[in-house]
């Protein structure tokens, strides 16, 4: 079976009716960046068939619950009048080929959802619109009369169920996010359930029931007919009665074992849940303690950041300003030095005599020699000339700027200059202090980031205890006590069931031996006429032979299928892991518990699992199961998945894609893992049959996308 195309009209982010993708056989890739409409496209595939979509955190949500949110926002925004009708629809064309019909049949499956405007209030408010139930139509051409057949409602649902059996569809159409729910390796029943859904192994049980019923009836008739020919009718009847009684006991015991095995399975599943819950409860205190510790660490880190960031910031902002004024202050210091030098030069001029006045040394010499050496005339002691020379002694020129007020200002300037000097010397330490502060703050930001990441991991682990193990950890001791009680009760029930089953099996074995002994005794009784041919006696030999064999085949075939799944899964795993050295080991299915393990070459379980490991192992198991189903059930289903490789690196992603391209007749993979730049390269890859690129755009030219005008567009790059 192949999906030929999908058409979308006003479906979620797809505005208008111009969105169509044509698919081919082989690997079809749909890619695009975040929020380009990839998951909405997957939703469209799922919605058209199942009337529901997967919503993160809510699981599967029906159209009824989704309401007008299913309808494109731009279409709603453009509605301008009461009674405006908006149609949302998705249509896929499926080509079905089978060995029974030489000509393929094309089914067009369309789901349509209409909303009508009832008020002119906010167009995004659900109460603004009246909704109608979605309408499902399946059309195809009848091969016998070439008429166009149109099925609606229940009839259409039945056709879809026939095309995509609901038990299988969950394994062939899934979102990466739903993978954990689909294949839970911790749950022993997961794989068994998957095998029962998608293989033909359960048919052996049906086969066994049919042949055993025939054998029982024919053997009874045979004994009756042979009894009529017996030479010792009384003994023969006696033995027959005993055999019939034993057969009844055996039948009842077999039914008892079958019923009790079902109950045992249910009780064991419950027990696993309780065990899981108990282990979750045991894990919770540790996780809770870890969470408190991280929160405390986070709190003290935040306090330290706050102290440094807010309180210290004030100080450092002043220091930064000071540091920023470094050049200004340095220039000022230089100017002050210049000023001081100038002042000093002026002071030194303080006693400088005018050019026409000799100094004291010269004057004293003149006085001593009583001679004016300037005019070379005598200057006798006590003469006027002598006195004039003497008056010139100790004569100083006092500049005006050396007034006491000016000197006071000069002292202040000197103090300022010395302070600026010490400030200049400290600039180095200011800078290192600021850098040290910034480094410490950055370290604390990094520390806070790590604590937040740790907190998220612990919160997720705690959340998993609830979501995966189904236990409300907040109830604490009360929950633990209740679960422990359940554990004890279930343990007792399971022990009793096992005892009863073993008892019933032993009775069946005893009865079989007794029947064999009685039949042997019966065969020794002479017949009155050996020439009479009892047909039932002959038929019973065949039915008995086949009944015995077929009951053994069921288990053999089951084991064979597990081997095949394991081997096929390992082939894909090996292909993919050969390009990624961080993932290693082999996939092993535990035959007792049906758990899936990652083991080394010697069969020892590897403990270094990570999310990528798990995802890959699950994908390989699913691929193997589906591949074998296609093979076993003489049917091929298109494999459609959204974001299956989000946990894998680029190499492993492409190895995975190449691997599935060879597994399925058609696969449609929606992935964000291929960037716009890589598209050209990928287009050339042989194993990719078709390639589509999704992009979000608007017609307003604004870079920011708004729900009122943004919509997804599909570009078919390779087909």
């Amino acid at each position: 079976m192949v999906i030929k195309s999908i058409k979308l009209k006003n479906f979620q982010c797809y505005y208008g009716d111009k969105h169509e993708i044509n698919f081919t056989e082989g690997l079809n890739i749909i890619t695009g960046s975040i929020a380009s409409g990839k998951s909405k496209l997957f939703d469209a595939f799922y919605w058209v068939l199942n009337d529901k979509i997967f919503v993160t955190g809510k699981d599967w949500v029906s159209t009824k619950s989704l309401g007008v949110s299913l309808v494109n926002d731009k279409a709603k925004y453009e509605s301008k009048a009461i009674d405006d009708l908006i149609e949302t629809s998705v249509e896929i064309v499926v080509k079905m080929t089978s060995e029974r019909n030489s000509n393929p049949i094309e089914y067009t499956i369309r789901r349509q959802y209409l909303i009508t405007r009832r008020t002119m209030q906010d167009c995004f408010d659900p109460s603004t619109w009246t909704t109608s139930p979605p309408n499902l139509i399946v059309e195809h051409v009848n091969q016998k009369n070439s008429n166009q057949e149109i099925a609606q409602g229940q009839e259409a649902k039945e056709i879809i169920e026939n095309l995509f059996p609901s038990k299988i569809s969950q394994y062939i159409w899934f979102q990466g996010e739903a993978l954990d729910k689909l294949i839970d390796f911790d749950n022993k029943g997961t794989l068994r359930k998957a095998i029962d859904y998608i293989s033909y192994v359960p048919l052996y049980k049906t086969m066994n029931n049919i042949i055993s019923t025939v054998n029982e009836k024919i053997s009874r008739t045979a004994r009756k007919e042979v009894g009529k020919l017996s030479g010792n009718i009384k003994l023969y009847d006696d033995l027959t009665k005993k055999i019939e009684d034993l057969n009844k006991i055996t039948k009842n015991n077999k039914q008892f074992v079958e019923d009790k095995l079902i109950t045992l399975g249910e009780q064991t599943a419950q027990m696993e849940e309780v065990e899981s819950a108990l282990s979750a409860l045991a894990e919770y205190p540790k996780l809770s303690e870890e969470k408190i510790e991280i929160k405390n660490d986070l709190l003290s880190t935040n306090n330290e950041i706050e102290r440094l960031d807010i309180i210290e910031r004030k100080r450092f902002s002043s220091l930064w300003m000071l540091y920023g004024a470094k050049n200004l202050f340095q220039t000022t210091t230089e100017r002050l030095i210049e000023f001081e030098d100038y002042r000093q030069s002026l002071i030194s001029k303080e006693y400088e005599l005018p050019m026409d006045v000799p100094g004291d040394v010269y004057l004293n010499k003149m006085l001593k020699e009583e001679l004016c050496m300037i005019c070379d005339r005598p200057a006798k002691k006590n003469s006027e000339a002598y006195d004039n020379i003497k008056a010139k002694l100790n004569r100083k020129i006092k500049p005006e700027y050396l007034t006491p007020e000016n000197e006071q200002i000069n002292r202040e300037v000197l103090t300022f200059k010395s302070k600026l000097g010490s400030l200049n010397r400290n600039y180095g330490s200011i800078k290192s202090e600021i850098i040290e502060h910034k480094t410490k703050l950055n370290e604390l930001y990094e520390e806070r980031k790590i604590y937040n990441e740790k907190l998220q991991v612990v919160n997720e682990d705690i959340d998993k205890l609830y979501t995966k193990r189904g236990i409300d950890v907040s109830e604490g001791a009360q929950s633990h006590s209740r679960k422990h009680g359940e554990y004890k009760a279930l343990n007792e029930v399971i022990r009793n069931l096992n005892r009863k089953i073993e008892g019933a099996k032993a009775s069946v074995k005893d009865a079989d031996m007794n029947i064999a002994a009685l039949e042997s005794e019966m065969s020794k009784i002479q017949r009155v006429d050996n020439n009479v041919n009892v047909i039932e006696e002959k038929i019973a030999k065949y039915t008995k032979y086949l009944a015995n064999h077929i009951s053994e085949i069921e288990q053999k075939e089951y084991n064979k299928l597990i081997n095949l799944i394991e081997s096929e899964a390992n082939m894909s795993f090996l292909d993919i892991t050969s390009v990624n050295k961080t993932i290693d080991g082999n996939i092993k299915i535990d035959r007792e518990t049906f758990r899936v393990l990652n083991v080394d070459d010697d069969g020892r379980e590897l403990k270094n699992y990570n999310t990528g490991h798990y995802t890959l192992m699950k994908m390989c198991i699913i691929n193997a199961i589906i591949s074998l189903t296609n093979d076993y059930k003489d049917a091929s289903y298109p494999f459609i998945t959204d974001a299956p490789t989000s946990n894998l690196d680029d190499k492993a992603t492409f190895a995975y894609l190449e691997s599935i391209s060879g597994t399925f007749e058609q696969s449609i993979v929606i992935t964000k893992d291929i960037s716009e730049e890589e598209i050209k390269k990928i287009k050339e890859l042989d194993y990719i049959s078709s390639l589509c690129f999704l992009k979000i755009k608007n017609d307003t030219g604004n870079e920011k996308m708004n729900r009122k005008d943004a919509y997804s567009i599909i570009t078919q790059i390779k087909n």
Binding site: M207, I210, T213, T543, H549, I553, K556, D634
Partner: protein, 68 residues
């Protein structure tokens, strides 16, 4: 190579498990024919076209017609 149908596979598993009915002196052709019929009825039951009890009755009739 022709792809095996489920009927083929079920039938093949019966014959292989018994190594072509080599462990019995019963007529091999008859065993093969009964097995084929049985497989056809199982497929009918699986496709919900027939109930197990009806399939058993039909097989019983077939056996009477085949073994005389």
């Amino acid at each position: 190579m022709k792809k095996l149908t489920i009927n083929d596979r079920l039938f093949e598993s019966i014959t292989k498990a018994t190594n072509d009915f080599s462990d019995t002196s019963l007529d091999k052709t008859t065993l093969q024919e009964i097995s084929k019929k049985l497989v056809d009825y199982v497929i009918e039951v699986d496709s919900s076209h027939t109930q197990e009890a009806n399939a058993a009755r039909s097989l019983e009739n077939d056996l009477y017609n085949k073994i005389r």
